[in-house]
Structures are given as C-alpha cells and as structure tokens.
C-alpha cells in the first residue's frame, strides 16, 4: 500500500504512515492530472539523528477523501526533483531544501522561500539568491518593495519588462517570517487559538477553525451542533466582508469610485456584525477548541439577520451595476488570465482556482461540522452572457467574489434559522492530544484551502506543527497571471488574488 486513506480532520498513529520512495509521491499526483489526487501539502518531520520523515497529503476532491503517505530521508540528502514534471511541487521542494538541506536535484529555480532565522541557506534576505534577468534593447526591470506605497504587508516584486509588457514577474517573500510554526510547540496546543488567529489576521476565523479542528481531531472531541453553526456564521461573515473589501479595492484600482466607497461601507457593516457576534471586527476570540466562546440570543440573531439581508440586497444591486459597465469590463476582461490547465498544474485553490474552472471548495468536497450537517449550496450566478464566469481572468476572480458574497450571506441566514433547534451548548470539553499521532485539519477560508497539521510526541506534546495557507499555492498563480500584461495592470491582478504575505512567510 503506497498511501493511507483518511477521513477529513482525521488523526492516525504517526507510525502507521506508509513509507514509499519520493518518486512514488510524484506518481500519485501525476495520476491526478487525469482525475486522481491533488497535492495538498508536503513537509518534513525531523526525527532522531538526521532522519527526516517527509509527509505528503493528497486530496481526492471528487470522492471527498484525503490520502497520506511518507518518505524516509535525511538532512542533506539528494532527491530527484519532481518539479519539472509537476510544477505544484516547486515551492514545497524549495521549502525542504531551505529547512533541511534536502536537495531536489534538477529543480529549475532552487532558491530560499522565506529566509527563516534558522535556515541552512543564506539567512539575510539581501544575501539571497539571484533573480532572473533578461537582456535586450527595450528590456528593463521594475523592482518594488519590500515597503509598498499602500498600507499593505511587505514583499518584493521584480518585473522583467519588454517596454510596457511584463515578460515575467518574480515574487520574493520572507520579510514577514515570524517563526509561527515553532511557537505553536510552546505549551499546550489547545491554548494557541490567539496565535492561530494571527497566522494571517485577515483570515483569523479560518485559521482558528483549522487549528481548533486539529486539536479536536487529536483529542477525538466532537463539538456541539450549535458551536458548528456559530463557527460557520463567523467564517461566512469573514468571507463576505473580505470579498466586499476586495470588490471595493478592485473598483479603486480602475478609478470606479462609486464602487470603491459603497462596497467599502458594506464591508464595514458586515465586519461590525462580526464585532457584535464576538467582540472583534475580524472575528478574533470567536473560536476555541471544543466550540466557540460566544453565544447569540434571539435579539442579536434578528439584528444580524436584518444587516445580512440589507447588505445581500445592496451588494447585489451594486454588483449588477458594476459588472454591466463597459468601462469596468474593459479593464477586467482578459486581464491576468490563468487557464484551467495551468491552474490545475500549479495547484491553485480557493476562489482563484474556481475562477479558473477548478472544482475546489473544501466546504463542498470535504465538509465538516456545520457544512456536513447543513449542506452548503451554491447558486452559480450567470453573467451578462448567460454563462458562469470561469475565464480565469480578473473579471472571473472579481465576479466570483460577487457570487460568493450572495452564497455566504444566504447561508448565514440559513444557519441563523438552524440555531433555533440547535440548543446543545456552545463548547464541549476538550480531551488532551493523544501521543504519537499525526493529524490534519482543512478549512475553506475566504482565500481557499487552509491546512493545519501536527505531529505529537510520546507525552502528547506538539513535536511538529505545519501550516499551509491558500497563498502558498496561489502566489505563483499571480506571477503567471501578469505575464504578457501591461505592468500597470499589476495592481489590478494583485487585488483580484489578494494573497497573504504573513500566511506564506509564517
């Protein structure tokens, strides 16, 4: 047996992990190009002496299952790079090289990922690896960052341009590296909710839910139905709030100011609803392992429902005006396109993947808690041509935000209705993590698939903590999207993805 099937959020004894060759890991994914398995993550677990156990997690989105396998190798070992055939591996292999000195022989562009403080590769970002360069009469480079013009996180973008046209964009991150994964290992895992919320503060509910799910899997805890409903309400409000903010920012980048202001104000109403729910506009403090910290009474339920209905209707009306405007379409359509084959090959996830035609949504393929008990459904909205937009361009990534705002807010209203019958409390007692286990927890955050994984030691302590934000796959999607576009369209492409720097840098 080369892989072990898992139920979602499952924990298995670490010793049950199958051991295969590294090439076999590639074979499992290679099959996925024909409808098999998708690579979710690949990470190393350091063991005694210099041994490193690689853990690879795969998703079968059609069957709704996960599979896991392992590779036994050591620090400084050389493995045949899978990247040339399977681009989805390229950052994972760079990560293994940076963390453990494992060399992927034949990797096309081996350089550090995030310059962690304890890496064996160059520590300081200035001493790092060279960038691609290009020669020619009209060619030039544009270097941006790490400090950007707006109020956003830091990162470095290097554009190789031929006149106004971008030939290639190289994105170098790592400026945000805070050593998050290691901090999860200090003290009891169940006390790390606040840290999980800070992995990427704009997706606090998603990361806190993934972390809580992991603690629950390790302790075999089942949360009350009511807690699941409140978690899903928090997640969907987070999604709707961010999507409204991104539509505002997309309108801003094309100088469509009514959209900028009105979507931004709708976002304020939605995140103020999160504040009314749990005391924070970003949903911090809502999630705790075992359930949630705050309940809502009927009065608050009605207040939330009224706001949600109002914003759903107003956002729908404004979006109908925006997506019918020729001056908007002229900028959105055919800008920053990632086609379906490319998206699948590089492992795009979340709304960006769906806008390129991939059927990736953990809420549908691997539902847990409320999503499993109260089926989440989508009602694909038709655009002006009567088609569902999966064109993979800025238009599709903007239009899908509009769709998801409607889907999320409708689902919040359904969940609020279910609260009337779910009266089984808001938190269950959490059992301590079982020793010697490996567990995975997947949540569909607004950016997409959010994975937290942990390996426990002999006393149930956290031996390895691993996080994969949706941004880890999707930054490369942005780099490919801007190829052959005007350099001035970069802000628009960037906003249509809106990826996390700190969720990537960890």
């Amino acid at each position: 047996m080369n892989r072990l099937l898992l139920k979602d959020r499952a924990a298995i004894p670490f010793d049950d992990l199958p051991t295969v060759s590294y090439e076999a890991v590639g074979d499992i994914v290679a099959g996925s190009l024909f409808g098999g398995l998708r690579l979710v993550t690949l990470f190393g677990v350091p063991e005694e002496r210099d041994i490193v156990r690689l853990v690879a997690l795969f998703a079968d989105d059609a069957q709704g299952t996960l599979a896991v396998t392992g590779v036994r190798t050591s620090r400084g070992a050389t493995l045949p790079s899978l990247t040339p055939a399977l681009p989805a591996f390229h950052l994972f292999e760079r990560q293994l090289w940076e963390e453990f000195g494992i060399v992927p022989a034949g990797h096309p562009w081996l350089k550090p990922v995030r310059y962690p403080h304890d890496a064996h590769t160059p520590r300081r970002i200035e001493e790092g690896y060279p960038y691609f360069s290009m020669e020619g009469e009209e060619t030039h480079e544009v270097a941006v960052g790490p400090v950007h013009a707006g109020v956003i996180e830091p990162g470095h973008f290097r554009f190789l341009c031929d006149g106004e046209r971008v030939n290639h964009l190289e994105i170098q991150l790592g400026y945000q590296h805070r050593g998050v994964e290691k901090l999860f290992r200090n003290g009891p895992l169940a006390s790390k909710s606040t840290l999980a919320e800070s992995v990427s503060g704009d997706a606090a509910v998603a990361h806190a839910t993934a972390h809580a799910g992991l603690v629950e899997a390790l302790g075999d805890t089942v949360i009350p139905d009511r807690a699941g409903l409140l978690r899903a309400i928090g997640l969907e409000l987070e999604r709707a709030g961010i999507h409204l903010g991104d539509l505002s920012a997309l309108c801003n980048d094309i100088g469509y100011l009514p959209g900028t202001q009105m979507f931004a104000v709708m976002r304020t109403d939605i995140i103020n609803t999160s504040l009314a729910l749990c005391g924070c506009r970003f949903g911090r403090g809502l999630i705790t392992p075992g359930g949630v910290n705050y309940d809502i009474d009927d009065r608050k339920k009605d207040r939330i429902a009224r706001t949600v209905i109002r914003i759903r209707d107003n956002a729908g009306l404004l979006a109908a005006a925006v997506f019918d405007d020729q001056s908007v379409l002229a900028r959105f359509e055919k800008t920053g396109t990632v086609d379906t084959d490319t998206a699948r090959a590089i492992g795009l996830v979340g709304p960006a993947g769906r806008a390129s035609g991939l059927a990736c949504d953990i809420r549908l393929t691997h539902p847990t808690d409320a999503y499993a008990r109260h089926r989440f459904t989508k009602r694909p909205l038709r655009n002006g041509d009567g088609r569902v937009a999966v064109s993979g361009d800025v238009y599709a990534r903007a239009f899908i935000r509009h769709q998801e705002i409607q889907d999320s807010l409708r689902y919040v209203l359904e969940l609020l209705g279910h609260l009337a019958v779910a009266k089984d409390g808001i938190a269950a007692p959490v059992a301590p993590p079982r020793p010697g286990m490996i567990a995975f927890s997947l949540t569909e955050g607004w950016r997409g698939e959010t994975l937290h994984a942990a390996v426990t030691g002999g006393e149930g302590e956290t031996r390895r903590y691993h996080i994969k934000d949706a941004s880890f796959h999707n930054w490369f999607g942005l780099a490919l999207a801007v190829r052959d576009n005007g350099v001035s369209d970069f802000p628009l492409c960037n906003k249509s993805f809106n990826l996390s720097y700190c969720g990537f840098d960890l």
Partner: protein, 252 residues
C-alpha cells in the same frame, strides 16, 4: 445601468461617523480592562495569557502586551472585565499598565499632548507613512479603514501617504521581523525631521504573541523612542484616530 447605480447610491445614504471623537462602539467590543480590587487570577489563567500581559499582587494587565482576547475575563470569578471603552492611546510605555482599581478616567488622563511645536506643525496636517514589519494584516486593514467613508480621518487633515519623503510620521505595525529590520530603519531615515513614531497594536509595542520568537529583531526601538502607543489586536479605527487627535490636542 446608470439607474441601478443611482439606486445603489440612494440606498448607501450618508455613512460617515458624525463625530469620531465622541462615537461609541458596540458593547461587545473588548476594550479597556476594569480590574476589581478584590479577587485574583489562577496560575493557569496567567500562564495561558497569549501575550504574557498578566501579573498578580495586585492583578495588572500590560496593554502593551495584551491582545484583548478576553481569556482572563472569561475565567471563573475573574476580577477582570473588558469594557467597551476604546480610547486606549498612550504616550509613555509604562502608562499602558492597568492595575486593579485603575479607572478609565485615570488611565485616559495619563496620555500626554505633544509639545506646542508639534501641535503648531502637525495640528492641522499630519501625513503618515505605514511600515508593516511582520504585521498579520489585521492592523494594516484597520489602519486603512481609518481613511474609508465611515471613519474618514482625512476630515482632520490626517492622511496616509505613499512615500516616507512626504510623511511627518512613521506608523509601525507588526513585531518587526529580522527580515524587515533594515527596511524599517531605511524608511525611518528617509522621513524628514521633525517626525513622529507611532506604534500600532500589541505586536509593534512589545512583540506581542511573537515576543519570544528568535525571528524578530527589535533593535530599532533601542535607538528610537515612540511618541504614540496604540494598543489593541488590532486597534479599532476609532482608537487609532483618537490616539492621534489626543496627541495633537484635538481630542477629549
């Protein structure tokens, strides 16, 4: 199409907070901690504080480290109650410590105004340059929100600018990673004097959740003393606006 847009504009109405100085926030907001003189916190509660902000005898909370997560306030028989008072800005690091019995009025009175020179120069026009130094994007989004149609900090002449060359103040978010230490120093040096240094959020003020991480480099603060501290995780936009207005002598 135009009619739909006009209808949307009609429904949008008037959204600016009428007076950000006197505006209240939702009672659920976790703001100023009121600590009763009686009662204590268990060793377990103190150990579980994510920012290590709690001390006992007497019970006190360092708002420079506190993430306002509410964990200690939810403990059984806790002397801590998080009120929704959101005017939390301070001008000295030690003024951020709230001890059992400290009232909000006492706390608020500790915040000092800038010098006459500062108020003359920046009282009606203050331009901020933001540096996110490993911030998680929550502080950054709240800083952005101060300029949206709701909070509209621009009504006071306070704005965020794209270049340090145009700025009167540098506002730092995040705990300052090793990989951002040089960029922060460079941005500070590129800002013309006289200039203010503003720290936004628990991570910027103390390292916060990440204080123990070897991936931080906070030596910048050995050489530069902040003028304004804005606690929170993230601070509410109204907390940010009022901390700055107060320093400029335009608050309450």
């Amino acid at each position: 199409m135009v009619l739909r847009l006009l209808r949307a504009r009609w429904r949008h109405g008037w959204q600016a907070v009428p007076d950000p100085v006197t505006a209240q926030v939702d009672p659920m907001f976790r703001g100023f901690p009121e600590i009763a003189k009686e009662g204590t916190l268990s060793a377990g509660t103190i150990a579980a504080c994510p920012g290590a902000a709690l001390t006992t005898n007497p019970v006190s909370i360092d708002l420079g480290k506190c993430h306002l997560c509410g964990h200690c306030a939810r403990a059984e028989n806790s002397p801590v109650r998080l009120s929704s008072r959101h005017h939390l800005g301070q001008t000295r690091r030690d003024a951020l410590v709230v001890t059992a019995g400290t009232s909000f009025e006492e706390y608020h009175a500790r915040a000092e105004k800038g010098s006459d020179e500062i108020r003359r120069l920046f009282g009606r026009s203050l331009k901020l340059r933001s540096v996110s130094a490993a911030g998680c994007n929550a502080c950054e989004m709240e800083l952005n929100a101060t300029t949206n149609a709701n909070f509209d900090m621009l009504r006071y002449g306070i704005d965020i600018v794209a270049s340090p060359r145009h700025a009167d103040a540098v506002i730092v978010t995040g705990p300052v990673s090793v990989n951002m230490a040089d960029a922060l120093e460079d941005t500070w040096n590129a800002t013309p004097a006289p200039k203010l240094l503003i720290l936004m959020g628990a991570c910027a003020i103390s390292g916060g959740l990440f204080a123990a991480s070897p991936a931080l480099d906070r030596r910048f603060f050995n050489d530069h003393t902040p003028d304004i501290y804005i606690p929170g995780c993230p601070p509410h936009p109204l907390t940010v606006v009022n901390a700055i207005l107060n320093y400029l002598g335009r608050g309450i």
